[in-house]
Symmetry: C2
């Protein structure tokens, strides 16, 4: 089963909006066992949208159109599909009433334009929608099919997972359930992980179920995705659990989390479980450590605060770092000890180093020291980080949280 994606909107061609919807859809189609060989962006032009749909139906079994379902004159996805189907648009009174009711409930005046969203190509099925006003469409074209979903990401996602993908799987005769789980790793390159897992990947290659795949995710480390196919969700989950255990036995504490966890959410959970509070002292990271930890709702359970001691004399006066060079293991330790005391925390992390663009205290760009204070002792670790200023800062943050994670696991 091959399904193309067509993202509709002149603003996409002009680069005013980056088309993240197609990427998300491509990922989820692939996970559902459906190939997507072409993805196209086209502007709000009837003739060109129609030509893209026709081409998609020639090359593939199905087409998903995303966007152009709104109330304005620019929104012509409905018209384009009707033209390809060779049918008229028919106003769906039920949808019309719902749109009227929505406006009434919000106390807003509805212009007639909004009722265009109730126009549906004859013979199309409507995908019921939750909060928005524009319904999605399932439009048969011979033995092929065109879907239309809104460009609003959460509405698109809901319709794709709830209607489009199950319908595609049914059409493809795919009765298998496909599930996947992502193991998050930190500290190894993709080729390093591939080497560690080479034996396991080879052993899996024959039947191909489950499969293992690597995915770089920018500054957040490398993901290992396990995908399993089975007759039922329970069976698929059991395969995932078994494979996760095998991969964990090989990679050990290189794996820091699963699926939607993050390094900071994992560290917060570990601290909460142990009844420990954390304080932070930052230099080159400039506040990023505090920013990341507080991006997690509930961070206040464990997070006391952070002292961003950017100027050296702030390190001396507020954190009690001895006067002298500050890009050193000793300074990192002293910063952590100072943060633990000043913020009255059980545990403290500290970062000091050279983010660039210029070297500092004779240390090259990328030199970072991480300090950790806990149980009245402190330690420091030196790391050499690659990349530009922003990347070095981000890597320093995740490296520091990872050091604490490993320390807490001991």
């Amino acid at each position: 089963m091959r399904c193309e994606i067509i993202a509709v909107g002149t603003e996409l061609l002009l680069g005013q909006i980056v088309d993240t919807n197609s990427s998300w859809m491509g990922e989820h189609l692939a996970l559902a066992g459906i190939d997507s060989h072409f993805q196209t962006k086209v502007g709000d032009n009837l003739e060109r949208i129609v030509s893209c749909i026709r081409l998609g139906l020639e090359r593939s079994d199905a087409v998903i159109l995303c966007g152009g379902l709104g109330p304005t004159q620019d929104d012509i996805t409905r018209e384009a599909i009707a033209e390809v189907m060779g049918v008229p648009l028919v106003r769906d009174n039920e949808i019309g009433e719902r749109i009227r009711a929505l406006f009434a409930s919000r106390g807003r005046k509805m212009t007639d334009n909004n009722l265009r969203q109730a126009d549906v190509p004859e013979d199309a099925t409507v995908i019921p929608q939750m909060p928005g006003t524009a319904p999605g469409l399932v439009c048969p074209v011979g033995d092929k099919v065109v879907y239309a979903v809104p460009g609003v990401p959460h509405e698109m996602r809901e319709m794709l997972n709830g209607t489009v993908i199950p319908d595609l799987q049914k059409r493809a005769g795919l009765t298998a359930v496909i599930r996947s789980r992502v193991l998050l790793t930190w500290g190894h390159t993709e080729s390093g992980l591939a080497e560690m897992l080479a034996g396991r990947i080879e052993a899996l290659d024959a039947p191909g179920n489950p499969t293992l795949a690597f995915q770089a995710s920018g500054i957040e480390g490398i993901k290992v995705r396990i995908t399993a196919k089975a007759g039922s969700a329970e069976e698929a989950e059991a395969i995932l659990a078994d494979e996760e255990a095998r991969v964990r036995a090989i990679l050990g504490d290189v794996i820091f989390g699963v699926d939607n966890q993050t390094m900071e959410s994992v560290v917060i959970d570990m601290l909460r479980d142990r009844g420990l509070s954390i304080g932070i002292a930052e230099s080159l990271t400039g506040g990023l450590m505090g920013a990341r930890i507080t991006s997690v709702p509930g961070a206040s359970d464990v997070f006391r605060g952070s002292i961003v001691s950017y100027a050296s004399d702030v390190k001396f006066s507020l954190l009690g770092v001895p006067e002298g060079p500050v890009v050193t293991a000793e300074a990192a330790k002293a910063m952590a000890e100072g943060a633990r005391k000043t913020l009255a925390a059980d545990v403290a992390l500290a970062t000091t180093g050279v983010a660039g663009p210029a070297e500092q205290e004779g240390q090259p760009v990328g030199t970072v020291f991480i300090g950790l204070a806990m149980n009245d002792t402190s330690e420091a670790e030196q790391v050499k980080l690659p990349g530009d200023r922003q990347r070095i800062r981000q890597y320093a943050v995740i490296s520091a949280f990872n050091l604490l994670r490993k320390r807490l696991m001991r």
Copy 2:
């Protein structure tokens, strides 16, 4: 002149990487007066890449291929173009030597695969490249043209601006120079700005030179882009300068910066010009203010540090905030005063408020107080911010910097 964009790479279809290159190219083609009606993503498959190029040459005058120029077996953009041109690939010895020299200079061993990057379709012209190893290509196909550029963003950008766009403009007989300038605004909605500028936009509508356009840019406010067309760069710049002055006369200090500036870079420049240092106290922003200010190289000229007082008692003990409720104007002022004193800074900013998900001290999510201490006085401003936890935190940061910007302008 119509030019299509084809982004090559299976990882794009699978959603492992979001295709931001096409968006960037679309924007810059449009600014150069070149239409881009279709943008396609296709995987690393020879037949499908070839079909996309042929289709692009049918529908448009030119095609830009992005990606697939690397050294691995997956990288087959060169082969696909040669097939469309009906010519063989020829090894370019000069490029081969450069690749060898590059590896030698880095002390790394070169595998033969790397020399594939020296293979060029017969009759193609090579685009010289700066740091990377893969050269770009200009490939004539009849009276049309195919360009190939690497997927590495900075290499792609350099080749597009340096070679592809000038070549397209020459082919299109576009002798006009097009220049644009972006004015960055904060504090008004797009429709609010449109209303303020309605008279000016109407006055410009007849000749259409310069033009004004609005562009939302997420959390960073609304951009107003001025685009001018003229016979020379000097003339175009003069039109831009004139129009900028007119727009500034209407919008006033709603405009906080131009082009690549950011709210934090503007504030740093203002502080540096005035010889002032800054300290920060953060609560709901958790370190984001420090993180943003230190993302600018040279922040150390003015930035002393930040005290992230997330727990209330840290506000009391470290910043001298009077015990009691902390989501108040008084607490924001006290935090700013405390930060100014503790960090020995000339100026201090503070944020306290409710980022959610739950309300706090009876204050609804989105309630934020910004404190500002300067010249031995302090003030506080309350703002109501929309959105979820992350958005409220980001808006709070930029609102705080904006308050300081306006205070410094007085």
